[in-house]
């Protein structure tokens, strides 16, 4: 495999999204990520409710090779099936860990011990291994078996308290925000930092990414603000301390909006000129203080004006005049409105079933050694390959193992 991380081998025991995405970010750059999984207890992402090609007639979503979540979060990995409930399966896992640089999992600490790859065991197996666990709360201790989802981590970590419309209950997320942000990225950054450190020290180490703790880091200066004032910050709505006006404005069509952010007096003048609204062309509004004092009236006037605009056309007209603006977009629009634009976000991948699907591109656009997004593995697709290539096993040995049920 090519890429900047070629030669870095990762044993991936993670499930669902946050963990798998962490290792996928590395796989895109050429790390050999071996997803260890089992047909007996599949990653729920494989049996997802939202399969890649829609719910087909007679398909009860039991096909492990068309799970929607799975294909985004596991692109570019190899799949090796091991039944870790069996002694033989755990023995193979131990050998894989011994032959790898990194192990990533999102498990309670006790589970790692039972699988024979707890902290003291790994020290013996492979003192150079970098082991990352991503528990909800903690790897060991009374909360080690607590569970959570990405949309709950943003709630517990405080982000909902500083988001949304002032004075209203927190707004719902339709998706698992922390699974695509704080948790996979902190885990991948930690792996890279530990790999760099190992070049100096020759030693691996254990890393814990508590998903609660890691997501608190997205609070920015909010904790400082609490300490400074004694009051927890509340949702600011769309108001911004640096820009006024600064909001979403309604455009023509259903649920159609345009974001406009006025940071400078010059940008304000451009907006006034384009709108040609007398209500906005007041000398009192020429300064940020003046605009801030009349924000409600200004927002109402802009609301009335933008309703006649197509949001894309409005954003372009404002951008042409040097005003930061952008259309509110939804996923179907990212995908479908403009095929060229779609390629900005997605990579088209061929599925062995003969159809294509879209995977999120890796936004870390390295120019000389770019990320390469490849298909996620079918279940067990690389079991034979991994056992022969990585562990040097013979076909006979593998057949013997398979007969014990260790490779299910």
């Amino acid at each position: 495999m090519d890429g900047p991380l070629a030669g870095v081998r990762v044993v991936d025991l993670t499930w669902i999204i946050a963990g798998p995405l962490a290792t996928r970010l590395l796989a895109d750059f050429g790390a050999d990520v071996i997803k260890v999984e089992s047909r007996r207890r599949m990653d729920v992402g494989r049996g997802n409710r939202i399969p890649l090609f829609g719910v087909l007639p007679g398909d009860a979503n039991t096909n492990p090779d068309t799970g929607g979540y799975f294909h985004d979060a596991n692109a570019g990995k190899r799949s090796c099936t091991l039944n870790l409930a069996s002694t033989e399966g755990r023995a193979v896992l131990a050998r894989l860990v011994a032959a790898s640089d990194v192990v990533v999992c999102n498990l309670a600490g006790g589970q790692l011990d039972r699988w024979g790859i707890g902290e003291p065991q790994i020290r013996d197996l492979n003192p150079r291994a970098i082991v990352v666990n991503m528990p909800t709360m903690e790897s060991r201790g009374p909360r080690s078996d607590w569970r959570g989802f990405g949309d709950m981590f943003v709630a517990v970590a405080g982000l909902k308290s500083v988001s949304g419309h002032p004075g209203e209950p927190p707004l719902p997320w339709g998706h698992q925000y922390a699974d695509f942000s704080s948790n996979p990225f902190h885990a991948a950054v930690a792996v890279m930092a530990a790999l760099h450190e190992r070049e100096r020290s020759g030693e691996g180490q254990f890393i814990e990414v508590s998903q609660y703790q890691s997501t608190v880091a997205l609070m920015g200066p909010s904790v400082l603000a609490y300490g400074a004032t004694g009051e927890a910050p509340t949702p600011p709505g769309n108001a911004d301390p640096e820009a006024a006006p600064h909001n979403f404005y309604p455009c023509a069509g259903e649920d159609s909006w345009c974001a406009i952010a006025i940071f400078t007096d010059e940008q304000w003048r451009s907006l006034v000129e384009l709108s040609a609204l007398p209500a906005l062309a007041q000398p009192a509004y020429a300064t940020p203080a003046g605009r801030r004092a009349a924000l409600v009236a200004i927002d109402e006037a802009i609301d009335g004006w933008t309703r006649g605009w197509d949001r894309q056309a409005l954003a372009e007209a404002l951008q042409d005049r040097g005003v930061p603006a952008g259309p509110y977009q939804t996923v179907p629009e990212l995908v479908g409105r403009d095929p060229t634009l779609g390629r900005r976000y997605f990579v088209e991948i061929e599925h062995p079933a003969g159809r294509t699907f879209l995977v999120h591109g890796n936004p870390i656009a390295a120019q000389r050694s770019p990320p390469v997004v490849r298909r996620a593995p079918l279940i067990g697709e690389h079991t034979f390959e991994v056992l022969t290539e990585v562990l040097g096993m013979s076909a006979d040995e593998i057949a013997e193992l398979a007969a014990t049920g260790a490779l299910e």
Binding site: R143, G164, G174, F185, H196, V223, Q329, P363, A366
Partner: protein
């Protein structure tokens, strides 16, 4: 720096960031890298960026000229860095910048190097190698490279806000500077992957991070669903019942995020254990499963149950029964959470010339052997000029001359 160096000790980072992605250089500094922040001689505008702290200055402090304004934004995002001043608009300043670039392993900016006319590809080919990471709203290249972005605009266009809040309501900005936080995470990861290649092959790298593309990751997996399913993923319909669709239920002292609706069977079992399952069981008997899940009475019964408990108590009860619940916190709750306190997440930071320290977020990730080192205050303006320029071989006499010329 503490007694045990962080995993990135000895890594030389030049920080030209003035907005998007500042979390990335904060993170690298916390991981032990030597991050040198370059500011114009008059100071970065970030030193006065909101939220501001109207703290009383220590009466006897005789606050030195150049003491940072009490910007909590600055205090947070530039913690742990060294600071120098430099005017790249002057030939002598530009020469200094080139010497700094020559010595750095990583430079992260918001497109400043390109704006100053540096040939980034030539920089990426130089020896010793340099990893150049630029973080801009829409990338340095491509059809939207010239567009002006902001946190609001990037969130809007990325598709992420298409999943947050209620349909047909004015969209709300998500979180404090989340597009900046996410792109900072991506910048840190890209920098460390590029550095891995640079140290092994001697080849530099240029990474072009578009903030809006990083935010688009939050629409993970939704793309194929919108192509192949009858439903596209957009924001939720307005609330139909307590907890539906937000998953948030009012407890005695605030909200809890509780995914009872994902599996009401477990809720019924929990309630049965407490002798309280009557109403829910009756509804389940009376209604087909899908209707039972969607019926407001189901959620009203759950809500009535949750309302009897304080958040922490309900969370512990649910988790101990294998159900998934987490409390909704604000900044005060975080600081007061015994779990986070016991983990030592919060640290005291000083602000020069100000009477008291403030509590701040510490390590997002726990390293077993080479700890993350939070808590160092950001640099005063030009605080490390003598030290850093001294490392370049510039003696104090020459530095004084450069200062007179306005280069530093």
């Amino acid at each position: 720096m503490g007694a045990t160096p962080g995993p990135l000790a000895g890594t030389r980072v030049l920080d030209l960031v003035d907005g998007f992605g500042a979390y990335g250089t904060r993170l690298l500094a916390g991981l032990g890298a030597d991050v040198i922040r370059v500011e114009p001689p008059g100071g970065s505008s970030q030193r006065s960026r909101a939220p501001l702290w109207e703290a009383r200055r220590a009466s006897s402090a005789g606050v030195a000229e150049g003491t940072p304004a009490a910007s909590l934004y600055f205090l947070h995002y530039h913690a742990g860095k060294r600071g120098i001043t430099l005017d790249p608009g002057r030939p002598a300043g530009r020469a200094l910048l080139e010497r700094l670039l020559d010595r750095a392993e990583i430079v992260i900016d918001n497109g400043e190097l390109a704006r100053l006319g540096h040939d980034l590809d030539a920089l990426a080919r130089k020896r010793p190698p340099l990893v150049i990471v630029s973080v801009t709203p829409f990338g340095l290249e491509g059809e939207r490279a010239g567009w002006l972005g902001s946190d609001l605009v990037c969130q809007a266009m990325s598709g992420m806000l298409g999943l947050y809040g209620y349909r047909d309501e004015r969209p709300a900005r998500w979180g404090p500077e989340q597009s900046s936080q996410l792109s900072g995470l991506a910048a840190a990861l890209g920098a460390l992957i590029g550095l891995w290649r640079a140290r092994r092959t001697g080849a530099g790298e240029r990474i072009d991070i578009a903030v809006e593309r990083v935010c688009a990751l939050v629409t993970f997996q939704m793309q194929n669903a919108s192509l192949h399913h009858q439903f596209g993923f957009t924001r939720a319909r307005a609330p139909r019942a307590p907890g539906l669709p937000s998953g948030l239920y009012q407890a005695r002292d605030g909200y809890v995020a509780f995914n009872a609706w994902r599996d009401p069977e477990e809720t019924i079992a929990l309630l049965a254990g407490l002798g309280r399952a009557g109403e829910l069981s009756a509804l389940r008997e009376a209604l087909p499963h899908a209707d039972f899940l969607a019926d407001p009475r189901t959620h009203a019964a759950i809500a009535a149950f949750v309302a009897e408990y304080p958040r922490a108590e309900f969370t512990a009860l649910a988790q101990s029964h294998g159900m998934i619940a987490l409390p909704v916190h604000d900044a005060r709750d975080l600081v007061e959470d015994p779990f986070l306190r016991a983990r030592g997440l919060f640290v005291e930071v000083e602000q020069p010339g100000v009477e008291r320290t403030l509590l701040e977020i510490g390590a997002p990730v726990r390293f077993g052997r080479t700890p993350y080192t939070p808590g160092r205050r950001p640099p005063l303006l030009g605080e490390h000029n003598v030290e850093v320029y001294g490392e370049l071989g510039i003696d104090p006499g020459e530095l004084a001359r450069l200062a007179r010329d306005g280069a530093v």
